[in-house]
């Protein structure tokens, strides 16, 4: 089958070639908003407590943020596809238990085994979502309670100590003396996935699925595969985050990461990714996760009393989203 040869239909020139789709200054600014929000927040915390802006303190903050970055990065993919993954935190908790249980047998391979296992569990949720046509919200809400139950049962509802710390020791090292290894790993995850999206057709498939699933499907994009892949990655990221948590806490516990769900979703939204899908990126979630981490640890450390801390957290996070969301990309906000 050869390319159909079409005569050039002459009449009018296609378009004025000088008109380029170049972003305006305003658009450029909006795309940097997550970073701006981060800097503003850091400045505000420094004003409140000048001691906050020290190398030590920043190092601790990025080290703290690593699991959240990884969780948010994985879930961002699902959100970009137009879904949501509410199971990441419960899956991460379950993975910490797996890690503690498997480490004695698998040794150095445990990390890989965990990531593979959580990836497979994520894939399973993805398959349930696309095959049964159940909204991802429901599938992953169900997944959340199922994973919690499994974790409680296999751990006998208690934390399991990890005696052998060598397997996770590498995550506690520092690159060049200051950059925590776990944060470097988180950066690598963001970078690798971002590159995969940018350099392969995956990126446009993901966005097409998120913007308009039916158009993507009828346009021949592998919508179901893309969705399952997104859930798989989200699961795998939950596993990696679990390894990071274990390296920090020296134990696995069936509820360890449960409270990271809402911060992870907050990180995605604060980054300016549209919760309705299509528009957004992983580096935005990275910036968002740093903002959320600063809010979580920064406010109490600079001395905001507990009650006011919650009020401030609520207000700042809403303000941050108001700042970062590019409204030209999302017409109707639900």
């Amino acid at each position: 089958m050869s390319t159909p040869v079409l005569a050039k239909p002459a009449p009018e020139p296609a378009a004025d070639p000088t008109v380029k789709a170049r972003p305006t200054t305003g658009q450029r600014l909006t795309s940097f908003m997550p970073v701006i929000a981060l800097v503003v927040l850091l400045a505000a915390l420094t004003v409140a407590d000048p001691g906050f802006l020290s190398l030590n303190s920043l190092t601790a903050a990025v080290r703290t943020s690593a699991p959240l970055v990884v969780l948010a990065a994985g879930a961002t993919l699902v959100v970009l596809c137009g879904g949501i993954d509410l199971s990441i935190a419960a899956l991460c908790s379950l993975a910490t238990v797996f890690f503690a249980l498997w480490l004695p047998d698998l040794g150095g391979l445990t990390t890989l085994a965990i990531i593979a296992a959580t990836g497979a569990i994520g894939a399973l949720q993805g398959v349930a979502h696309v095959l049964l046509r159940i909204p991802s919200f429901i599938v992953t809400l169900g997944g959340m309670s199922i994973f919690t139950a499994i974790a409680l049962v296999i751990s006998d509802a208690g934390p399991i100590r990890v005696a052998d710390r060598d397997a996770t020791h590498w995550l506690t090292l520092y690159v060049a003396g200051v950059v925590p290894m776990s944060f470097v790993v988180a950066l690598v995850v963001v970078l690798v996935v971002s590159l995969a999206l940018a350099l392969t057709p995956l990126g446009s498939w993901v966005r097409a699925t998120g913007y308009s699933e039916s158009a993507a499907r009828l346009g021949g994009a592998p919508v179901d595969l893309v969705k399952v892949a997104a859930f798989t990655l989200s699961g795998a990221c939950a596993g990696l985050a679990a390894v990071m948590l274990v390296s920090r806490n020296f134990s696995g516990s069936p509820t360890m990461a449960d409270n990271l769900l809402l911060p992870a979703v907050a990180a995605i939204v604060v980054g300016g990714t549209a919760i309705t899908g299509g528009h957004g990126s992983l580096w935005r979630s990275l910036a968002g996760a740093l903002v959320v981490t600063l809010l979580r640890v920064g406010l109490p450390i600079v001395g905001v009393p507990s009650a006011y801390e919650q009020i401030l957290y609520g207000a700042i996070i809403v303000a941050a989203v108001a700042l970062t969301l590019d409204r030209s990309k999302v017409l109707i906000i639900k």
Binding site: A15, K20, G220
Partner: protein, 520 residues
């Protein structure tokens, strides 16, 4: 009806006083001048046609008239009074109402609610619905246009044509807001209707003229001349003149629209250029059965265009979707080029060389916020990749080639497709299947819906050239004439079954009447 008829019925375009005047209207969009000083007069009790190519600015102008678009410059006068229209409500208060190009009803509300939406009046007292009153109000509007639907039916349970009637009934509510004859604007109301429904609509439009002015937009120029008293022509956001419908021909209008002598490139004569090489069967469908169709047999040869005609609900659309793997089938066998076609999903169909252009361009055909380039290369990876990696350079070259070949009007290949006019969007969607050069079977569902004459003839030419290069095409045409003109063979479907096959070779075309007999 609240308006009293001061004047006798009948066309009276030139003489009657202006109901609405537009002077020097200008509207810029980033990179486009959608309106560039438009002047327009709409007289009382006339039907004014508005013609222009895709992207000429028709919709923008009409939206400005109902307060949805804020013009950058220019004036709008209603019955001798200059007005500033800030919202739909504002416009309705001045007696201006519009039926939009895309249907705009809330699907999960009743027809009655849709009709009174936004101006419930006595239907809602202190925020409380009075369903009886509501029903009566809606019934009054429906009676005006002689529609018999149940006002309390959920809108998404109504047929397409009935929904169109609801839209018209809804827009007629503006009569209640003003003592003067209203101006009713219809933006491409016919592009989604069957011919029978179009006839009903035209009857309505002629009735409207008795108590209102109507602005009517359509790309079917014969239609425009048929129903309108006067036709104004827009080109590149400027008014370029007007004609009296009574003494104008489609060709003349077309010339004004494109600003040159347009080739009278109509589907009827084009068929002669078709190459006569011997044909081999490409698509063989036997006993295909799905939810809305049964036992469909269909053969399409390489290089052949087969039209499927049928009334709304005949199931032809679902047959097309089934062949593309987008609709489930329960039985039947489909063979493409001697190999069994996998109907399990759209991916498999794409891989086998099947292409599909859906009728619902906005929701199914394109991914609005994505660029022209990404939309064009969504399917065929080797059009933008080497190995698994995207090569932006390769993609750009290829996309630019096709933008030029199909003369797609877009500021840039990176422009979001939703900012293009409908015709140009359609060309991008078609190009999606051509970029790779491996399409063997093309399923076209209303491919010319909403396209202007020029764009349409380009699509026709494209279809023919594709056929000449060996592509087998299944066409669900916009009108019977189009089906007859373009097809080599026509299959009639009714009630989910293929009931008749009619040969339509160049020079021996059946008449529309022949087909209508079979369809009902």
């Amino acid at each position: 009806m609240t308006t009293d008829l001061q004047t006798e019925p009948g066309p009276r375009a030139p003489g009657s006083p202006p109901a609405l005047e537009v002077r020097g209207l200008v509207k810029h969009y980033p990179g486009v001048k959608a309106l560039d000083g438009v002047d327009l007069v709409v007289r009382q009790h006339e039907v004014l046609g508005l013609a222009g190519e895709n992207g000429a600015g028709k919709s923008t102008l009409l939206k400005a008239l109902v307060g949805l678009v804020r013009p950058d410059a220019g004036e709008i006068w209603v019955r001798g009074e200059r007005v500033r229209l800030r919202s739909v409500v504002d416009a309705a208060d001045h007696g201006l109402g519009m039926v939009f190009q895309e249907q705009s009803l809330v699907p999960n509300l009743t027809a009655a609610e849709n009709i009174v939406l936004g101006s419930e009046g006595p239907g809602v007292r202190r925020g409380i619905y009075r369903w009886g009153t509501m029903r009566r109000l809606a019934q009054e509007q429906l009676d005006k246009i002689g529609s018999h639907i149940d006002p309390l039916a959920r809108t998404d349970s109504l047929s397409f044509a009935d929904r169109q009637m609801v839209e018209i009934a809804k827009v007629l509510r503006i009569e209640e807001r003003t003592a003067h004859p209203p101006v009713i604007i219809l933006d491409e109301p016919t592009s989604v209707l069957e011919s029978k429904e179009i006839d009903t609509l035209f009857t309505q439009v002629r009735r409207l003229r008795e108590f209102a002015s109507v602005v009517f937009v359509s790309h079917r120029l014969d239609e425009v001349l048929d129903v309108c008293d006067r036709v104004a022509v827009l080109r590149g956001g400027k008014s370029v003149g007007e004609v009296l419908a009574a003494d104008a021909a489609p060709a003349e209008l077309h010339r004004m629209m494109i600003g040159a002598t347009g080739s009278e490139d109509h589907y009827h004569d084009g068929a002669a250029e078709r190459s006569g090489e011997p044909r081999r069967p490409r698509l063989v469908v036997r006993g295909l059965t799905g939810k809305t169709f049964r036992d469909v047999d269909l053969d399409v040869h390489a290089g052949e265009i087969v039209g499927i005609v049928g009334v709304h609900g005949s199931g032809r659309e679902d047959v097309c979707r089934a062949l593309f793997g987008a609709e489930a089938t329960v039985a039947g066998e489909v063979v493409l080029d001697g190999r069994k076609l996998d109907l399990s999903g759209t991916r498999a169909a794409c891989a086998a060389g099947v292409g599909y252009v859906p009728a619902e361009r906005k929701t199914e055909g394109m991914v609005g916020p994505m660029s022209v380039a990404d939309n064009m290369t969504l399917t065929k990876q080797h059009a933008r990749c080497s190995g698994p990696l995207v090569r932006p350079g390769k993609q750009a070259t290829l996309v630019d080639t096709w933008i030029e070949r199909l003369s797609i009007r877009t500021p840039h290949r990176g422009t979001a497709i939703q900012r293009l006019s409908g015709g140009n969007q359609q060309k991008v969607v078609l190009a999606r299947w051509l970029v790779a050069g491996d399409v063997r079977l093309l399923l076209l569902d209303h491919p010319t819906r909403g396209l202007d004459v020029g764009a349409r003839s380009e699509v026709y030419r494209l279809m023919r050239e594709l056929a000449n290069s060996g592509v087998a095409t299944v066409l669900l045409a916009d009108s019977l004439e189009e089906a007859i003109g373009m097809s080599d063979r026509i299959v009639v479907m009714s009630d989910g079954r293929a009931t008749k096959e009619v040969a339509a070779p160049a020079g021996a075309k059946p008449t529309p009447l022949d087909l209508v007999k079979e369809m009902v």
